[in-house]
């Protein structure tokens, strides 16, 4: 393969489809969609931002976290408490919550990644459950089991963004930033380092990569995405409670990223949108749709290990390029 071409053109070309899709998504309000559609789309978008963080962690570094919703929760509670106690608004809460989630990720990550491997996933699960217990027992400070209200409005250049269409556009903008950030990570030398760790930890270490530090780094990066998603969630819902951030929401986040496919940049977007709109399209009640998600997850893992988008991309490549399968696989492994 021509290396210089790969380094220059190919990355940009991989970003383009996502940008086109996001541009189309941003044009949706022109067709005057229902409020219900907009709310669903906003929740999906907020999830997608968190999912981009999870895809850096799972897709690139190969670490699966079962506590991602807890990181989202730290962001949401940080925003709510800052607004209540210090009168801090949305825009200042964003960096503050991102930092809070990143710090929490580091606090969780250092002991969890030290024990490594199989145990990490259980440790993150336990920290997620612990956070929910702490928030529930936090008394007035965290609002106990009922949670906290966020009544502030989001304003941008003097315009009130609380209107659904405006909030929708803002979330689409944030999703775009998250997608571009995740794309930049994937195609940077940092991304290559993370993938080296994913493919072979010992080999990566022997090349002088500080595996432990980079794993914690990836976890912290996923925390930044989660924190921002948490702020958007808190201001959108206007009310947050501990059960939203316990381990079951984390399972659903992991499910979304894996259904979409964690390694490709389209994956989180597809996973988030699919899981949000599938019940609407198929006209399922919440219980039935959960069963469908679970079956989808099992089917995707058994049949399409790269996720839905990965599977589609692979099938398309198989159709359009006459190359034998082994060569395609080799090309993909290099990505």
């Amino acid at each position: 393969m021509n290396d210089s071409r790969r380094a220059g053109l190919k990355p940009l070309r991989s970003l383009l489809p996502v940008l086109v899709i996001l541009a189309l998504i941003a044009a949706v309000p022109l067709f005057s969609p229902s409020n219900r559609f907009l709310s669903l789309a906003i929740s999906a978008g907020i999830n997608v931002i968190a999912l981009y963080g999870l895809s850096v962690l799972f897709g690139q570094t190969g670490i699966l976290s079962m506590g991602h919703a807890a990181l989202v929760g730290i962001g949401a509670y940080a925003a709510a408490i800052l607004a209540r106690d210090f009168g801090v608004g949305f825009w200042l809460a964003l960096p503050a919550a991102a930092i809070a989630s990143a710090v929490f990720a580091m606090i969780v990550g250092i002991p969890s990644l030290r024990v490594g491997g199989h145990h990490f996933v259980i440790m993150t699960f336990a920290f997620g459950q612990l956070l929910a217990i702490v928030l529930t027992n936090g008394g007035d400070y965290t609002g106990a089991a009922t949670g906290l209200d966020v009544t502030d409005h989001v304003t941008l250049f003097g315009a009130d963004m609380t209107d659904l269409t405006r909030y929708y556009l803002m979330v689409v903008a944030f999703v775009t930033v998250a997608a571009v950030a995740s794309w930049a990570i994937i195609h940077s030398s940092y991304g290559r380092t993370l993938r080296a760790i994913r493919e072979n930890e010992k080999l990566a270490a022997s090349l002088g990569i500080n595996v432990g530090r980079h794993k914690i780094g990836a976890f912290v990066v996923s925390g930044v995405f989660a924190g921002i998603s948490g702020v958007l969630l808190a201001y959108f819902l206007g009310h947050i409670s501990p059960s939203q951030f316990s381990s079951f929401p984390s399972i659903y986040l992991a499910l979304m990223v894996m259904i979409g496919g964690a390694r490709l940049i389209e994956g989180p977007l597809a996973g988030g949108i699919l899981v949000a709109f599938l019940p609407e399209v198929l006209n399922l009640d919440p219980v039935q749709s959960r069963i469908v998600y679970g079956v989808c997850l099992i089917a995707v893992i058994m049949l399409l290990p790269d996720g839905l988008i990965g599977g589609i991309v692979r099938a398309l490549r198989g159709l359009f390029s006459g190359k034998p399968k082994s060569e395609r696989d080799a090309a993909e492994a290099r990505q």
Partner: protein, 297 residues
């Protein structure tokens, strides 16, 4: 003096309460630890197996079947479910245990909501199979709790006996120690993996039946219970059955105390905090475990 004797009463009662819950947790932990030791699969859906065991017992008792028969039915039903799931799903993930773990996440969601779909999400309970309460020197002992503890001791002792004394048990331990070498020695490791799934599931079925004899359960009970099962399995050292039983005892006593001495809202947190602390200090658990089967890659 009066004060002291009351304190002792509460103390003994709380230990008994703690131990009866710990019994159920130990039953999960044994399944979790064996399945992990042999396959490297972290089966999070094991808590749902337990929940299904409870539901089967509830259905049977509601249909007028006696509790002992209901227990046997739920052991059989959940054992069969374990067999089907291993043959149908987990078998294909043996090369990549992470996929097995993800499949178990999907199973959690599916099993919970299938139960909700058919039997609504509300609490389910059965009349206590044993209602006698013994008074021994002012200590009130509910016979149902003693029953749970005794059944668990019997089953755990029987499992130990099978694992330590029979040649199947020796082959099983050899497979947990080193799957490839065991296979080279002519042990049908694949069949043992199926066997362990069935055994682990059957123990979870029993655990569910015993749990519903103690408390009402909901379709979502499995989540908390499996985390405690994992906490116990990790504290004891994954793959180490003795460790799981010892850690189960420790956790039961700690939880019993915390419930009895005014920190009940933090009860669920203890197992997690204990697990995190133990893993940070001793990553392979208090009693040492395996880190799962060595992978070919």
């Amino acid at each position: 003096m009066q004060q002291v004797s009351i304190a002792v009463d509460i103390f003994i009662q709380q230990i008994l309460n703690g131990l009866s819950i710990a019994s159920v947790i130990t039953l999960i932990a044994i399944g979790v630890t064996l399945i992990f030791g042999l396959t490297g699969i972290i089966n999070f859906a094991h808590g749902e197996f337990l929940m299904i065991g409870g539901i089967v017992t509830w259905l049977a008792v509601s249909a007028g079947v006696g509790f002992p028969i209901a227990v046997i039915l739920s052991i059989l039903a959940v054992g069969l479910m374990g067999y089907v799931l291993e043959r149908g799903l987990f078998r294909f993930t043996l090369e990549r245990p992470t996929n097995g773990f993800i499949v178990s996440l999907g199973l959690i969601v599916v099993l919970q909501h299938v139960v909700v779909l058919f039997w609504n999400p509300n609490q389910k309970s059965i009349p206590r199979p044993l209602t006698t309460v013994w008074e021994v020197g002012g200590v009130r002992i509910a016979s149902v709790r003693v029953m749970v503890i005794l059944i668990t001791i019997a089953v755990v002792a029987l499992s130990f006996r099978m694992i330590t004394a029979s040649r199947y048990g020796r082959a099983l331990r050899a497979s947990v120690e080193d799957r490839d070498t065991a296979a080279l020695m002519g042990i049908p490791v694949r069949r043992y993996i199926t066997g362990v799934f069935v055994l682990g599931s059957a123990l979870a079925g029993l655990g569910g039946a015993l749990l519903i004899a103690l408390f009402p359960i909901t379709p979502f009970t499995g989540g908390t219970m499996v985390m405690k099962g994992f906490a116990v399995a990790l504290i004891g050292g994954l793959g180490n059955i003795y460790g799981a039983v010892a850690a189960g005892l420790i956790l039961g006593i700690v939880e019993g105390f915390s419930a009895g001495y005014g920190f009940s809202q933090w009860t669920d947190a203890y197992s997690f905090v204990l697990m995190i602390l133990v893993l940070v200090v001793r990553p392979h658990g208090l009693f040492g475990g395996t880190s799962g089967p060595r992978m070919a890659s």
